[in-house]
Symmetry: C2
Subunit: 297 residues, 2 copies
């Protein structure tokens, strides 16, 4: 097999399985390659990925070793993804009666969500240089599921979906009641066998306003003795400023929506704006996405 063919196989396998260790023996056998050529191939891939901002390729020595690929976006690329997201979010046609926003298309666009997931995962890896290895991504039905699926894929771990109502078909469950943002009592349930003992988890959802849903998820995780390593949402609201947790990631911050004048304002999340060395293009994209519109359709 020629080098270009070997590179194609290696890169496709790595990119399709982020966060998972692929044994060197798998590649050696599949490629029919000697260890020395394989080492050269992997060095080429590692360097190509590093110098083009495509992610980190790491070789882990030892019997349980192999190659692992992790998304690792540059600050400029993260800001670019957030700006693009904000531009789509800032469309006043999204405004529904009551000041709600139509988000259904955004929360179910697989490519957009794959990019957003890479932002979350890249950031978590940066914040935990010693290693970031949750056992599960946890979300609650329904609208957070697509972004949670993509985050689970980017981390290389299984997804766990909390249900609003316990299902007969999932065996024994743990249920918590919590107070929603609108001060109603809501329920969350998770099958007993969905999480391993002392699991480390990240929580992912689509939207955080007062944070009632995240609070419910935190309570349920406590019942399972799980450790929450991180929380991420697609969109947060500026008001109320107080959220149930201090540290979380979001992509966009909704400043306000006015359904009478049909205007809204959105900006990339504060942590993204504070990243060093913002690219010039994203700075102007941020400005563009803060623009307000006064006509619809």
């Amino acid at each position: 097999m020629r080098r270009s063919q070997r590179l194609a196989v290696i890169i496709r396998e790595l990119v399709e399985r982020p966060g998972r260790v692929i044994p060197l023996g798998y590649f050696a056998e599949r490629l029919g390659a000697a260890k020395s050529s394989l080492s050269e191939d992997l060095a080429l891939v590692r360097e190509a990925f590093a110098s083009n901002g495509l992610g980190q390729v790491e070789t882990i020595p030892g019997a349980a070793g192999g190659v692992i690929y992790r998304p690792s976006l540059t600050p400029a690329r993260m800001q670019e993804i957030a700006s693009k997201f904000c531009q789509r979010l800032a469309d006043p046609k999204r405004i529904l009666p009551g000041g709600f926003l139509y988000l259904t298309d955004l929360i179910s666009d697989p490519f957009l969500l794959a990019e957003v997931a890479e932002v979350f995962v890249s950031r978590w890896h940066q914040l935990h240089p010693g290693g970031f290895a949750p056992d599960h991504v946890v979300t609650v039905e329904t609208r957070g599921i697509p972004v949670a699926v993509m985050t689970a894929r980017a981390l290389g771990v299984p997804l766990v979906i909390i249900r609003r109502q316990a299902l007969l078909t999932e065996g024994p469950v743990v249920t918590v009641n919590y107070l929603s943002g609108s001060r109603r009592v809501e329920t969350m349930s998770l099958p007993r066998r969905a999480l391993v003992e002392e699991a480390k988890v990240v929580l992912v959802d689509d939207f955080m306003k007062a944070g009632g849903t995240v609070r419910g998820m935190l309570e349920l995780m406590e019942e399972f003795g799980a450790k929450v390593l991180g929380v991420a949402v697609l969109v947060e609201t500026a008001e109320p400023a107080e959220k149930p947790i201090a540290d979380y990631l979001s992509i966009a911050r909704l400043l306000w929506v006015d359904d009478v004048s049909r205007t809204l304002a959105v900006e990339p999340a504060p942590w993204l704006q504070q990243l060093e060395a913002p690219a010039r293009e994203s700075a102007s994209a941020i400005a563009a996405c803060e623009a307000e519109h006064d006509s619809v359709k």
Copy 2:
């Protein structure tokens, strides 16, 4: 930029965006490469993918042209994925009181689902050699969402999630009532603006027994004037043999579950067993996965 670097960028971009046309100009600019080198690179990638069963890379000429990658698994690989899935499904520890099966871990494993999605998409492309281009993947909450997300990603189209209850926050909705498998009246709702006019769609769900859910989805699609190009489920049951549609894909067929003796039997879906040239390994895996177990931890 050296060839290995250019190949790394091209392959990663293609694999991350299946089903989407990436303009040649994008690569030319990003790689700083002349058209002639780019053509050579793409020819290398195309050949490497074709000869290693990694998928099809096609160059589309013209102003709106570019490069497109489509998953295209060999029959042996599809059978291997199905066998692996059946082996996991056939674990008698999954049996719950009432003859239900615990599937929660399977329907939310992102890599397993990415592979399953490639099986669906590869098969649809084979069945429609003139081109298979749905506008949306449609599913219904909750358990079908992860596999539908991955199918949407593999096709390069947005996902649409039908709700069991209409949400205030999604604008005007269309609602249908339908009879479930257990003869109860159930409801499905979809926002008016979720589908384009005369949309072409595929329907994806986790499980099909009598097919009540699929029938409800078909009815709702009719209300939207949408054309259903394909239906795919992860698991179908052998009984009842009559389903609401003749043509659909599944990965595994559940032959029976007995919650008294704690035994079950599963096999790869009939269409997968009938594919030409089954690999010897998958034939033996099929046999293994039909084995019955009579003890549970």
